[in-house]
Point group: C2
């Protein structure tokens, strides 16, 4: 199985892009013509909401797949519509993969060992269905929250090795109160997020691919550039998944510290996520209205690619 | 809306029980006659797995609902079967509520503010479905992981107040490596789990019900009785949800520190979860085989109730 770090590295080089498109389809912002079509077929049901979400997502994916290496559906916006939402979460991943995109299921799962294993099987591996091994969500990577420590992460790591998949562990998140836990300072003056960085570096040390990255990445918010600099030094072998660019306030300058200059002089090692500013770009576009939300999204991705390339 | 702390307190008093039955339906352990029936109707599909899970759960709930205050379905074992699994997760909650059980959705969700709000709406509140407010999972409480700090918890807290619901935040979990993050020691000699305890006490301080409990509970593992003692002192106003009894090694003696003796001389303030040892009790029962898994579960609950009552 190809190492996930290599897969992601190569996808970034191929597309000459570090942009990850966040698929967080808020129903109130999905264009009216899509919602009307879904309601006319399914009335005011979860199924209608889910169908609207799926059509919207496919439009975004069609518009941007040749420009970016990865997409990241955030499962909260799908769970809102119960089993119908979960169905289109699964179908969104399937569709994105059919367009050769790397799919990061933003699920922030974690639990004690035997439960974490169930999650790892469902999102990255295969489950046992009456003796038959079957794929469920089959994402390329998932996000993970680390409060339970290593034994809640190990089953995901095993799935990474077995299936060429990846994980991104929360280290320093982009939200205002991320410091409540992450900035707590130890006796030796290190903070919790730094210690998480050291854990990740050691957990991934045995599985580094030919381009220098392990399958264990780190979530590091664009809104904390100083902390990102420190973390980049602690974790030279981890891809960073960087939320907080755009709507949350992070700029290209802020995310610069998340990258590494590799031996071929390529800036690599980070993918920068943007959700609202891309998928609902039509709201601010001068050129495109909501019917052309896909064109507006493509325009926003082109602008973001340009913005990030200029920063180096 | 009635305070969740009061609702849980009263349910424990009414049933004279502190047992929470964990509904973690591992397909390989579900009795053959249930699986064969599901397969005969739906072949080897996710639907068959989900139907087997639902029938199994209903059998357990029917057998124990008069003996315990609460059940806790662990969503990982449902997500394994994609949208069909999520459907029966929802239907399990619905069925348990119809039997007047308190339902704790063990989902360990958390995210930045706007995403946490989507989760809170889905699991505890209502979502906006084309202008109509609709319940989705409508559990009585959820478990939450705290790595992102207060702004990822606030939306859940708002749902608690608005809908009389509860949350249980991970503080000191039962697994062997819980110390990786939770035991990290600060400059002032407090550990991360103690600080989490202080956060929870302050976050719940404005919403304490007439029986002395806020809607914010804490997850404290039965496998760490000394830490539980400390945490009980830090959080006099929080219910503890205690995993780790039974299969994971915790005994009645170990969980004693999680309780409070209230003004009426009632031992309260904790619910002790057991999953495997109850729902798959038939595996170890001398009296009942797998066809009578429900009777074996009832027997195991009676034994656990007895075991806990004797400890005080």
């Amino acid at each position: 199985m190809k190492n996930f770090g290599d897969r992601l590295y190569e996808a970034c080089v191929e597309k000459n892009s570090a942009v990850c498109v966040g698929l967080d389809p808020r129903l109130d912002k999905i264009p009216l013509h899509i919602k009307e079509k879904a309601i006319s077929k399914n009335k005011n049901t979860f199924k209608a909401a889910a169908e609207a979400v799926l059509e919207f997502n496919k439009g975004i994916i069609d518009a941007v797949y040749d420009l970016v290496p990865a997409v990241k559906p955030q499962i909260a916006f799908y769970e809102m519509f119960a089993e119908e939402g979960i169905r289109v979460f699964r179908e969104t991943i399937e569709y994105a993969k059919s367009k050769c995109l790397i799919t990061i299921a933003d699920v922030k799962r974690n639990d004690i060992g035997s439960t974490a294993q169930a999650y790892a099987h469902a999102f990255l591996g295969v489950v046992d269905l009456f003796g038959e091994k079957v794929k469920v969500f089959d994402a390329d990577a998932v996000t993970i929250t680390p409060y339970l420590g290593w034994d809640g992460i190990k089953p995901f790591m095993e799935a990474c090795i077995k299936y060429g998949k990846g994980i991104f562990i929360l280290v320093k998140t982009s939200n205002p109160s991320s410091g409540d836990v992450q900035d707590l300072c130890m006796k030796d003056s290190r903070s919790v997020y730094e210690i998480m960085g050291h854990y990740i570096e050691s957990w991934g040390a045995d599985d580094i691919g030919k381009n220098g990255f392990s399958p264990i990445g780190a979530v590091v918010g664009a809104t904390y550039p100083d902390q990102a600099k420190k973390l980049r030094e602690i974790m030279p072998n981890s891809f960073f998944l960087v939320p907080g660019y755009g709507a949350q306030g992070g700029s290209a300058k802020d995310v610069k510290n998340c990258f590494i200059k590799d031996t071929r002089d390529v800036m690599t090692g980070a993918i920068i996520n943007s959700s609202r500013e891309i998928i609902f770009a039509y709201e601010k576009s001068e050129k495109y209205g909501e019917k052309d939300y896909d064109k507006a999204a493509r325009e926003a991705v082109e602008k973001m690619n340009e913005d990030l390339r200029k920063a180096f």
